[in-house]
């Protein structure tokens, strides 16, 4: 414990926000609080990064494409310098160019289309939950919620939607995790991460080629996008980068949301309550998306000078919009903003999914998956503990969540 205290981040005038600091990943809230209260237009010279942490400022920035541009992607690090620089996501653009492409890509994710996927989502949930809980029933101990349920479940669903083959899911998942992983305190994209990213890209190019040759006659997203590209409405690069983005968002964000929910239910001692009253799962999930959302930070590039809280924001700098901090800002949500509180009434919109032209396209599907999976889980599980000593977190510049979340002492409903 003493060692931990000595290693804690010093929150004073010398503090510079570093999204790659593992200590920040372990405990972001005290950092957020410090920034909101003492440095709301924070600047880290070494990273040339402005950091916005208050709800009002983050909310405005999200709506201000003219000043805060998406042109260099929404991660801090530029993932594909040089060789793969041609992979510019369709989303790495601002309105109005962005809107047209987004419209083409977004059709499978409308609320209606997403709801229609409920049976498929439920079926997948039952499958993975059944495997994990089956082992528990046979007294084979606990299981790892991330590797046994959240990860494969999210991957299976997005793979099915895209049209990716089941047998490639594990490989794709490992490429995704490697791509986003960073070393402690470092913005450097290591060779393993670049390699994994390139392998996934290469795989998607091959997959695209095969499907095109086969006539792309199905109704999966890949086939539809192939036709859109063939009609000349989207470039092939943008089509493939869209599939690439879907793999990440559909897998990373959703899986981490599930993991965070399972973590929060246990640490807030809500497991039994959620088992007894499944109608509370929705409210619970809303609060998880507020206090422990996977997408904690999105990044922009400052393309127009501006001033915020007396600080001059210069062109060319990056800006970190701390969605996770905004969502627990006392100024927007009251003195108990940091607490997970079932039935909380919100006075303002949550920024969990961003806002504006880059609002999360897959939001409805993500929420549906999380809701259904949690309902299924709490239906069958009366209580559980988390083996904290064996938990490990992901270490990325954007996503907050677990790579390993071992559950134990699992008490199953009869």
């Amino acid at each position: 414990m003493q060692q931990e205290a000595a290693d804690a981040i010093r929150l004073d005038e010398s503090f510079r926000f570093n999204p790659f600091d593992y200590r920040f990943h372990e405990e972001p809230r005290s950092v957020y609080r410090f920034l909101r209260d003492h440095s709301p237009a924070h600047y880290n010279e070494a990273l040339n990064l402005y950091v916005l942490s208050r709800y009002a400022d983050v909310s405005s920035a999200l709506r201000n494409d003219g000043m805060y541009s998406f042109c260099h992607s929404d991660t801090y690090e530029i993932l594909h310098p040089g060789k793969f620089a041609d992979l510019v996501g369709f989303f790495c653009q601002d309105a109005p160019a962005h809107n047209g492409r987004r419209q083409l890509a977004g059709r499978p994710f409308t609320p209606r289309k997403s709801s229609a996927l409920a049976p498929m989502v439920k079926y997948s949930g039952e499958h993975f939950l059944g495997l994990a809980l089956g082992r528990v029933r046979r007294s084979q101990g606990g299981f790892d919620f991330m590797s046994d349920i959240a990860g494969p479940l999210s991957m299976a669903i997005i793979a099915k939607l895209i049209g990716l083959p089941e047998h490639e899911c594990d490989r794709i998942r490992s490429w995704i995790e490697l791509t986003v992983s960073r070393d402690n305190g470092s913005a450097v994209v290591q060779p393993e991460a670049l390699q994994a990213s390139e392998q996934l890209l290469r795989y998607l190019y091959e997959f695209w080629g095969e499907r095109s040759r086969d006539g792309a006659g199905g109704d999966c997203i890949a086939d539809r996008i192939i036709h859109v590209v063939e009609n000349g409405d989207l470039s092939k690069q943008h089509g493939i980068s869209f599939l690439w983005a879907l793999c990440f968002a559909g897998q990373e964000a959703t899986a981490k949301l599930l993991g965070n929910a399972i973590y929060q239910a246990c640490t807030n001692r809500l497991d039994y309550i959620l088992h007894r009253s499944p109608n509370l799962v929705g409210e619970f999930l809303s609060e998880v998306m507020r206090v422990d959302s996977p997408a904690q930070i999105v990044y922009r590039t400052v393309v127009e000078e501006g001033e915020l809280h007396g600080v001059r924001l210069r062109k060319g700098a990056r800006a970190a919009l701390l969605l996770g901090s905004a969502n627990i800002d006392e100024r927007a949500f009251g003195a108990d903003a940091a607490d997970l509180k079932l039935g909380r009434v919100l006075a303002v919109d949550l920024l969990t999914f961003g806002w504006g032209s880059h609002y999360c396209l897959g939001r409805h599907l993500g929420e549906l998956e999380a809701n259904l999976c949690l309902q299924q889980f709490f239906e069958q599980v009366r209580g559980y503990q988390i083996d904290i000593s064996r938990c490990t977190r992901v270490h990325t510049s954007t996503v907050h969540g677990f790579s390993s979340l071992p559950l134990m002492d699992i008490d199953l409903a009869e």
Binding site: R63, N99, G100, R102, Q103, P111, G354, G356, Y359, L361
Partner: protein, 69 residues
């Protein structure tokens, strides 16, 4: 002065928040797309209309003022 509530269908993604907030002004159409019910709004609709404009995450709604007919 009268107002028109206009939906930019290019930006609209059927999130449905406008329908939730301003059900007397906008309803969900057959395919889930929002449809504006009233061509002209009076002053009594302004607050609700503005809240719908603000609530749209895609910024797809706007209010246009028109001269009285």
């Amino acid at each position: 002065m009268a107002y028109r509530l206009v939906i930019d269908q290019m930006k609209c993604e059927n999130n449905g928040r406008c329908v939730e907030l301003a059900s007397e002004l906008i309803e969900s159409g057959v395919d889930g797309s929002p449809v504006v019910l009233r061509t002209l709004l009076g002053a009594e609709h302004e607050t609700v209309a503005r809240s719908a404009v603000k609530a749209c995450p895609m910024g797809a709604l706007r209010i246009e003022t028109t001269a009285d007919p």
